[in-house]
Symmetry: C2
Subunit: 335 residues, 2 copies
DNA sequence: ATGAAAGCGCTAACAT
DNA sequence: ATGTTAGCGCTTTCAT
């Protein structure tokens, strides 16, 4: 009785309920213009058959997939994981699913994932850029797929961005270290082409300049090129650095690891402030002083804006949402 | 010239290239039976038009979505995040996308996500169960959607499972603590209905029983019900516990947090072993002794098995893959 | 309030 | 080697 494909289709439902296809469709879409009795009957047949609408078919016709994509560089980074979780929760509430892809920080992979998403007719995209220079969101833009970029304002494109006050936060963190009397402060960053890295670096430089000091920077292109040996050159004479400011979670991990290898005590031998808080940062003695990003809020806000665009596209220009960070003083800065 | 919908369709490609729809389709699907010249011409038109195949339409017709779903309880858990990343990488290589949903450990949400995935015609599912009692994968099973369950063998269902040797690992960890001379060892777990928790608990009980000791257990239904006060009742007289064995990452976080509040030094005041390793576990003094799960491998293996089922379904019974854990001794156990 | 028919963009028999 | 013709399961004018 049921279509040979295995599961019941709307045609089956209609036939068994003794109504037309359109009526069955109306029930699915909660159309108001329906006699309650008819609707009830159809609904009953639906549950009876265990009917599940085929979203692919629905999307093909309606030209919407009810899916948004999220592309991130690295899920192992807790900042990213939490943002993804927040986005997915908002999406669920809106009746959307999230297609997730990780780029590994590779612009080429990112672009190919972008294409894949386009083919899947995603209704929107939240991007945590791998590499600002190589991000190619033009095709999406041309197809009028709403995009929200997290953590990076894409220059010259009319996309919504949501970021934190990177520069200000970095400047304040650096100032805090300067306040402790440290003069030789090292900034450690990765992927300097990323906006977040660049901006945090700018904040650091501003603070150093204001204090009449030279910036000391250790920037690596990718994680593997950072080793304890590299760091040790900055810690040895002459003029060893007195404090380190790590520009994101990955760098914090790398530096902590290296300091352990080099037997340098945090705060005791060298002060440390980390951009990015994380679970247990307070448990690493003497507690890591950090700049905390409102991670969940970033994710939620990005999703919120995206769905606003998806649902109705008011042509007000691209949005720039800037959230504030929180400076959390624990012991590693020397306090 | 191009269909009014905005982007070029295969019909447009065919028309402009002066071939039939089917020929264009053949080019898309890399059919071998094509004159190279024709294929080249069609391909040229495709790039010229910036043609992107519509995966929704493709899937509707071909009855495959080229998407797999992954449902997890908590992305903030690094174990989960890394497994998801591993799965996604394998999926990408296979030309599939991953639809990710988090259940928050709520069986009801999990089930509704399961339904959503069904409607999306997913070709396979990797499940990190929220709650073994409530998981309802029957509908997927009936629709012949391959499923791989991570971290939990679903009883009585013919699904593939991939787990670690929970009981053995827990037993050995407990024995290790016993070897240090601790008698009063507390096991801390969450969601005791979960297979992982139950099995680890079993391992712990076995070891305690072998030593002629009573098991001491603190099991919470959910994270928020665990507080420092609750833990403190186990640490106070009479007979304070001498060591703690946490049954997963979340519990480790909760216990570490509580111990800090209670001003108890790890190893010094109380020994600790954690089931689940994590970034910086070695940095929490004196270094956390842990049972490490091969997280990436779990994810990769789960995906590998899933795609085997998707590509060809040999009717050999359900697989049970059991991976080994690694016992990593650092200082917290008292060593 | 309900139905008939067309078609979204693609694949797949079945020709030729 | 290439084209013709049906649909996949749904939504959607346009009738009634």
């Amino acid at each position: 009785m049921i279509s040979r494909t295995g599961s019941a289709t709307l045609v089956d439902v209609a036939r068994i309920a003794g109504v037309s296809l359109k009526t069955a469709s109306r029930v699915l879409n909660h159309s108001p213009e329906l006699r309650p009795a008819t609707a009830a009957r159809v609904r009953e047949v639906m549950t009876q058959l265990g009917y599940q609408p085929n979203e692919l078919a629905r999307g093909l016709k309606a030209k919407r997939s009810a899916a948004i994509a999220m592309i991130v560089p690295n899920l192992a980074d807790p900042f990213t994981a939490i943002a993804v979780q927040a986005v997915q929760e908002v999406a669920r509430d809106k009746g959307y699913v999230v297609i997730l892809a990780s780029s590994g920080g590779d612009g080429t992979i990112e672009n190919s994932e972008l294409q894949v998403m386009l083919r899947r007719q995603i209704d929107g995209l939240i991007l945590l850029a791998a590499n600002s220079r190589k991000s190619n969101i033009k095709p999406l833009f041309e197809k009028n797929v709403p995009i929200v970029v997290l953590d990076e304002p894409i220059r010259g494109e009319k996309v919504d961005c949501i970021i934190v006050s990177n520069r200000k936060a970095a400047r304040e963190a650096t100032k805090h270290l300067l306040g402790h009397g440290y003069r030789r402060i090292l900034a450690v960053g990765a992927r300097p082409e990323l906006f977040t890295c660049a901006e945090r670096l700018n904040g650091y430089r501003l603070a150093m300049k204001s204090a009449g000091l030279d910036a000391i920077e250790l920037l690596v292109e990718n994680e593997s090129s950072f080793t304890a040996e590299v760091l040790s050159t900055f810690l040895s004479d002459p003029n060893p650095v007195e404090a380190i400011f790590t520009l994101n979670w990955v760098c914090t991990m790398l530096v902590l690891r290296a300091l352990k290898v080099l037997h340098k005590g945090i705060a005791k031998d060298i002060a440390l402030i980390s951009f990015d808080d994380f679970e247990l940062a307070d448990m690493i003695p003497p507690g890591l002083t950090v700049v905390r990003q409102p991670t969940r809020e970033l994710g939620r806000e990005a999703a919120r804006i995206l769905f606003e665009r998806i649902e109705k596209k008011p042509n007000d220009g691209p949005r720039r949402v800037i959230l504030d960070t929180e400076f959390i003083i624990r012991g590693s800065c020397g306090c």
